[in-house]
């Protein structure tokens, strides 16, 4: 008696956006390869460099995605990087601690930030922005307390980690005709492993789905019998841990600790996440999106570097024009999708 409408949809709106994002990324990268073919943009190493430079960003972006999916935010990550790098450098260079212990310290610092911020946010119900803003101040200030000077990490073992190359079976020929095999650093392997782990967790674990539920409607999640506070707390703890781990990767890339390190990094991480389709209001977002968000940001700056004739201010403007173009395009696609839908 009743007319039934079967919904036949292979993917929903958010998956659609993700596909658009990936498509735009590919389009941009390929355009770069065509325009700058003479400047080595097409080399496989150029792409791998994108991963190498952004290993830390990918890991930290994953952490941010987790908290952003719950409707929160974490703007302390830049400071956590500075603090972790500084502490690691200080431990290894001034205190003679082994790199293993230093890595442990890095993870513990991240975890500590996660625990404290998570507690304030989920159990005391203080706004995440403010808590992590305080965390940002705190981390940066504490870095200066540890040391005001730059510390260069010269520890042999640590440097060997940083310089250990993993060669790929492919590569490219230089202008002089020499073959250079492409390579990555261990940081990339770690970052990709974390990425896959978090993707699986977000999609296939109870905890992961609860994060989405809370972000979608916290009140409902509570009424549906989820332990909202604990889940949120754990989200921040995990985010803190990933921030610690990401800082370690960052440190392997930069091999130094100093007060001004990674200033503004939180904005990079947040925008990577958002370009990848995460909503700041919560409930929507995937680590895979964040991964592509990071690659997109990397590609944009890579394009500008390769271009190489802009003056400082034009670099900033060009960066944001590309960013703007990208964001607007995304929103136009989203709007089209919405329109078609309703």
């Amino acid at each position: 008696m009743k007319q039934r409408r079967k919904e036949k949809r292979t993917f929903n709106g958010n998956t659609f956006l993700l596909i658009i994002t990936i498509g735009l990324f590919l389009a941009m990268y390929i355009a770069g390869m065509v325009v700058f073919s003479d400047k080595g943009f097409g080399k496989p190493q150029m792409f791998l460099n994108l991963l190498i430079s952004n290993a830390g960003l990918i890991v930290i972006g994953c952490g941010l995605t987790i908290v952003m999916v719950t409707g929160g935010i974490d703007i302390s990550v830049g400071s956590v990087i500075a603090l972790v790098c500084m502490v690691m450098a200080d431990l290894m260079e001034n205190k003679g601690v082994s790199p293993y212990a230093a890595v442990l310290a890095a993870l513990l610092i991240g975890l500590a930030f996660g625990v404290v911020q998570g507690f304030l946010i989920s159990y005391l119900n203080i706004q995440p922005f403010i808590v992590t803003l305080a965390g940002m101040f705190f981390g940066r200030g504490l870095t200066a307390v540890v040391s005001k000077e730059m510390i260069s990490i010269k520890n042999g073992l640590f440097q060997s980690w940083a310089k250990c190359r993993i060669y790929m079976p492919f590569g490219s020929y230089s202008n002089k005709g020499k073959f250079h095999p492409a390579y990555i650093y261990p940081t990339v392997v770690i970052a990709l492993a974390v990425l896959i782990l978090i993707i699986v967790m977000m999609k296939y674990s109870k905890f992961g789905r609860q994060l989405y539920a809370i972000g979608g409607n916290q009140q409902s999640a509570l009424m549906m019998g989820l332990n909202v506070k604990r889940t949120k707390f754990l989200a921040y703890v995990l985010d803190g841990f990933l921030a610690g781990l990401g800082s370690f990767l960052f440190c392997l890339n930069s091999l130094a600790g100093f007060v001004e390190q990674a200033k503004g990094f939180e904005m990079d991480a947040i925008s990577a996440s958002v370009i990848g389709g995460t909503l700041l209001t919560g409930g929507v977002g995937t680590p895979i999106g964040t991964f592509f968000g990071a690659l997109i940001k990397g590609t944009i700056s890579s394009l500008i570097t390769t271009q190489g004739t802009l003056s400082s201010w034009w670099v900033r403007i060009a960066l944001s024009v590309l960013l703007c173009f990208f964001i607007v395009l995304q929103s136009v696609f989203a709007a089209m999708k919405r329109k078609k839908h309703s």
Partner: protein, 346 residues
Amino acid sequence: NGGTSAGSKSPAAVSAGGESQTGSAEKKSGGTVTVGFSQVGAESDWRTANSESMKGTFTDANGFKLIFDDAQQKQENQITAIRNFIQQEVDYIVLAPVTETGWDTVLQEAKDADIPVIIVDRMVNVKDDSLYTAWVGSNFRAEGDKAVAWMEDFFKSKGRDKDTINIVDIQGTIGASAQIGRTEALEAGVKKNSNWKLVAQQTGEFTQAKGQEVMESVLKQHSNIDVVYCENDNEAFGAIDAIKAAGKKVGTDKGEIMVLSFDSTKAGLNKVLSGEIALDTECNPLHGPRVQNIIEKLKKNGNVDKKAYVDEKMFAADDTVKSVSAGTGKFDVTVVTQDVIKGRAY
């Protein structure tokens, strides 16, 4: 903006890289040389002058192709840029590092790709010295030492070398090489002269606004300040305003507050001329011709000095102290006149 783009032709520049003009003619026949330059950013006038100097030197007309990258004060951006330069297979990499530390990995990559790296401005602190070919830049510690030596001589000649001298240090951005060198020099000076007292030390982040804010606060706590040691010109401007607003006088006499500064920008020298800044120690940004000089030498497989300090002058309001000896050498003190200011490029 005429002042800056003419940078490469300023007197200071010529003194360092005299043969640059002739060298370029010959370069054209040998094909263009690609230079990748990773600059810190455009955070100050000094930096802008530095960039302009590079751009003015490595022009197509001179036989160069410059790939300029602005890192927006982020080390990680510079590391990425250098990797990019390597993939572009530039002939030379010029690096003005944001920080001294953390260059081991990426410079190793450059070395593996057989690209010589020339460091400008700040030094890099790497385990293996062979990772870079040459360095050109300022010695911030020496700058500080010169200012301190001048101060010692000045007070001696005024007969105040036994009086207590209360000094305020308005530091630069914490962790910047310039801040570290200049602060160290002052602290060493305070240690050496038992009558000097460092009554306050606070960062003004190299900006006028912060310099002013910090000085305002310091003035409310201490009534008998003799010297304000500002680690760049902008901070000095702010400090001077704060001092005046508090109803005190800037100057070198007893009871007045003496302002020392660094950089010697045009604006700074104007303040020296008017007597508000007692001593302004130069920090020269015109590195373009010097780097070109090194590249020319490298092209001819010639030897280059691993480290080349830029000689920097001192500008004072009066000639109480004619020259100072600090560290390794003796340095003349220039008394600022209108002509001196006219001759400045930045």
